[in-house]
């Protein structure tokens, strides 16, 4: 990735974190890049014109969010890395169609979710496994590296949730999507989303109480 040296050092040190509200809702619907909205709009427009350095800035600002959701939903570091990379490939291909109707981060995030859901649907191997987590200790050590500040017991409990319940819990409670948004993504009824969420929360609580 071409990155002019005199920019890259500041860029990288600047590309950390974002402020989130108390509820995840705030993070999804709000702006969560490092750049203020008007600056990010300019960066997005440059990327739309084919400027890969501008796209690199967007990558730096958003890769952490995308990776986090991939890691939680797929419960496997390697697959999550692939899905994250695919998300940015897809974003690069589709950025021309981005209409500024939402924040860029929201749009990109949704691409990431789609990427994950497509993977989950097409992963035939998964059908024959009891659990989605093939190697819990490995996943735990991946999570520990990627999110040192997280609660490992909680992450493991989420990782061990049955397929269906996990997606709903991550999308609603962590990523802040609404019932109807999730219902649309999963192509199911809102009622199903609600009942799966209740089940997921109950399972997590039981796992923590063990």
């Amino acid at each position: 990735m071409p990155s002019v040296l005199n920019n890259s050092l500041e860029d990288i040190s600047g590309a950390v974190g974002y402020e989130t509200g108390d509820h995840p809702r705030a993070a999804v619907s709000g702006e969560f890049g490092t750049a203020p909205a008007w600056e990010e709009e300019d960066i997005v427009r440059r990327a739309q014109a084919g400027d890969s350095e501008a796209f690199a800035e967007l990558y730096e600002a958003h890769v952490g969010r995308v990776y986090a959701i991939c890691l939680r939903m797929l419960s496997d570091g390697r697959t999550a890395e692939e899905a994250t990379q695919d998300t940015f490939v897809r974003a690069w291909e589709a950025i021309g169609s981005f209409q500024f109707k939402s924040a860029f981060g929201t749009w990109l995030h949704r691409l990431g979710v789609n990427q994950v859901l497509t993977r989950l649907r097409s992963d035939k191997r998964r059908e024959s496994r009891v659990t989605v987590v093939e190697n819990l200790p490995e996943f735990e050590s991946e999570v520990r590296e990627a999110m040192p500040e997280t609660r490992l017991d909680l992450e493991s409990a989420i990782a061990l949730l049955p397929a269906g319940a996990k997606e709903v819990l991550v999308l609603h409670d962590i990523e802040g999507y609404s019932y109807w948004e999730i219902a649309e993504m999963l192509d199911t009824a809102e009622g199903t989303v609600k009942s799966r969420l209740n089940r997921a929360r109950r399972l997590v609580r039981e796992a923590l109480n063990k």
Binding site: M1, A49, D51, S52, Y67, E81, E138, E149
Partner: protein, 633 residues
């Protein structure tokens, strides 16, 4: 929604209310139901406690971090190339036109240029440029650029270096057909030692198509574990998009690309490295430009051995240089003098100081001054080997050495291994636990015996647990005996559980009997992982014990047992699995029993599966249908 009144705190009402609590928490209930739950909660402490627990759980989930740092750079390699094509749709045509003009080229197949004869000019033979396993890509570069990117290798690997730049034959060397200078070129520097390990020398380049000055190197080099910075610099003319002569093939790759070699290349060997955020750095003033006077304060809270690394311009006297003053007195404690420097690569006037000294604790001011020419970003002669270091960097010499050890894992793996093995004997259990963790991460079979020792004798159950985990990570068969002992006899259930897991990872058939016994363990977690491990090992001797485990109290154990039986796929399991698919009261167990029957595909299961097509759970019905399909085949 039930319209009955369940507001009174009575047993059956509590059950109803608990069903509704999650919906109540999310404010999703109808007004009537919401009011009833509220009234019930006012009167019932049990349900209120339950609600508080739900609240705590959901709050905890909602406050999990929403950003994660991937272990490696996930930049999609497709992007740089796509970008350049978008920007310059004419490029392809221009390139092809240029090719036709180049003598000695017989065939053009797409972008593939085949070499036709042994021209006296080294002619590069093009294949399709590899785009997989990209570690660093600094391409599509225009005029007057200095670009860099750093990375760390955790083990030695073979790297393909593809570098495309501009170079010319020496005037004096013209007659001999060799010797020349590069104008747009790249190199690789050991980021900690700050020494060049590879560079694009004219004599090693081939003609890259188009103008003769287009030069390319495409070769495989071995890089040791360590941190590296890849540089590429361009001068003021002839570069990507600004060609003043015929462009090369693949002009959009003007610059340097490093990629891993071979289909089996493992990207996990590559991690991000950011020189400026190296923890060993105490303070730095770098990327100094013309006519700058920079200063910064720093404090040492103890006497410190520091490494000073400074780059500047000088010949007899220094023109761009740094120094350190004690903050109170202004006394100069170190200065970059010409005599203390050596050549920093590139033009002779590029000078480097690299040495260590002891500084007492106290406040200091680090200063750097530059004159009006030849500095970062505006070199009037060849830049130094480390352009981004132009300035001064002060590191903690000890921290620097420690960091060296961290990244030089392979070179020092013996050291780390010994230290971790020694730490297994530490009096503090927490230290021993982390030592076991570290040994699992290292994965060196040399740790097996010490870990087995810990697994057998450590007084702390958690330490034994992590020793079991580490043995599962190392996956060495010599650990099987010790793990069998642990899964059978350890009094800490977590240690037994992880021993079972480790045996499943190692997949040694010698563990089957012990794991079968573990299916009767007191802890359902142990039973569950024993079932999983037996499914991994896939030995039919486990069929009987797994069949019995289908009657376990814990539905989790039954579910895993069903799965394991499906993995083993032995027809003796048909009978217990048929019973499970028909009678188990947990739908997940029925589902996996159905799946397992499909894997076994024995016609005797058909009756139970047909009955399961009436199951109340859609999942069970779906898998029963699938399984029947498998039997049909």
């Amino acid at each position: 929604m039930s319209e009955q009144d369940f507001s009174q705190p009575e047993g059956s009402n509590c059950e109803t209310v608990r069903e509704l609590l999650y919906g109540f928490f999310d404010e999703q209930l109808s007004e009537t139901a919401d009011g009833l739950v509220r009234r019930h909660l006012d009167l019932c402490k049990g349900c209120t406690d339950e609600l508080m627990q739900i609240k705590d759980t959901v709050n905890a989930i909602q406050s999990l971090p929403r950003e994660a740092t991937p272990a490696r750079v996930l930049w999609p390699p497709q992007v740089a190339r796509r970008a350049t094509v978008w920007k310059k749709p004419m490029l392809l045509a221009a390139t092809l036109a240029a090719l036709i003009l180049v003598p000695g080229i017989a065939t053009i197949t797409g972008l593939r240029l085949l070499r036709s004869n042994d021209d006296e000019v080294g002619q590069y033979t093009y294949g399709s440029v590899r785009r997989e396993n990209v570690i660093v890509e600094l391409v599509g570069l225009g005029d007057d650029e200095t670009v860099a990117r750093s990375f760390t290798l955790t083990r030695p690997i073979d790297v393909n270096v593809f570098a495309l730049g501009e170079g010319g034959v020496n005037v004096f060397g013209l007659g001999e057909g060799q010797g020349g200078d590069m104008f747009d070129y790249g190199w690789i520097m050991d980021a900690r030692a700050r020494e060049i390990v590879w560079s694009m020398d004219y004599d090693d380049t081939d003609h890259a198509g188009g103008a003769a000055k287009n030069r390319v190197i495409d070769e495989v080099i071995r890089l040791d574990s360590g941190s590296y910075t890849v540089y590429f610099v361009t001068d003021g003319s002839h570069s990507y998009g600004e060609w003043n002569s015929s462009p090369p093939i693949d002009g959009e790759l003007w610059g340097i690309t490093l990629s891993g070699v071979g289909d089996g290349f493992d990207m996990s060997a590559v991690t991000a490295y950011e020189p400026a955020s190296d923890p060993a750095i105490i303070v730095q003033l770098v990327e100094i430009r013309d006519d700058e006077r920079r200063r910064t304060r720093f404090t040492l809270d103890r006497d410190t051995e520091v490494r000073i690394y400074a780059l500047g311009e000088g010949s007899n006297d220094m023109f761009d240089y740094g120094w350190i003053e004690a903050a109170g007195s202004g006394r100069v404690v170190w200065e970059m003098t010409y005599r203390s420097t050596d050549h920093a690569g590139g033009a002779e006037k590029n000078r480097r100081f690299d040495g260590t000294m002891s500084l007492p604790s106290g406040d200091y001011i680090l200063r750097y001054e530059s004159d009006g020419s030849h500095s970062f970003g505006d070199w009037n002669d060849d830049p130094p080997d480390d352009p981004a270091g132009w300035g001064v960097t002060i590191m903690d010499a000890l921290g620097d050495a420690m960091a060296d050890i961290r990244v030089q894992e392979d070179r020092f793996s013996g050291l780390a291994l010994d230290a971790l093995i020694a730490a297994l004997q530490d009096p503090d259990a927490e230290v021993r636990r982390w030592a076991a963790l570290g040994l699992g991460d290292l994965g060196d079979p040399a740790a097996v015996d010490p870990l087995l020792e810990v697994l057998a004798n450590d007084s702390d159950g958690e330490v034994r647990r992590w020793a079991a985990w580490a043995l599962g990570e190392i996956q060495d068969e010599s650990a099987v005996g010790g793990l069998i002992h642990a899964v059978t006899d350890d009094d800490h259930h977590e240690a037994r559980r992880w021993a079972a897991w480790a045996l499943g990872e190692i997949q040694d058939e010698g563990a089957v009997r012990a794991l079968g016994d573990a299916l009767a363990d007191d802890s359902h977690e142990v039973r569950r992982w024993a079932a999983w491990a037996l499914g991994e090992i896939q030995d039919e001797r486990a069929v009987r014990a797994l069949g019995e485990a289908l009657g376990d109290d814990s539905h989790e154990v039954r579910r895993w047992a069903a799965w394991a039986l499906g993995e083993i796929a032995d027809s003796r399991a048909v009978e217990p699995l048929s019973r499970a698919v028909a009678n188990d009261d947990h739908h997940e167990v029925r589902r996996w029993a159905a799946w397992a029957l499909g894997e076994i595909a024995d016609p005797r299961a058909a009756e139970a599966l047909i009955a399961a097509m009436e199951d109340e759970s859609a999942e069970v019905r779906r898998w029963a249908i699938w399984a029947l399909g498998e039997i049909e085949r």
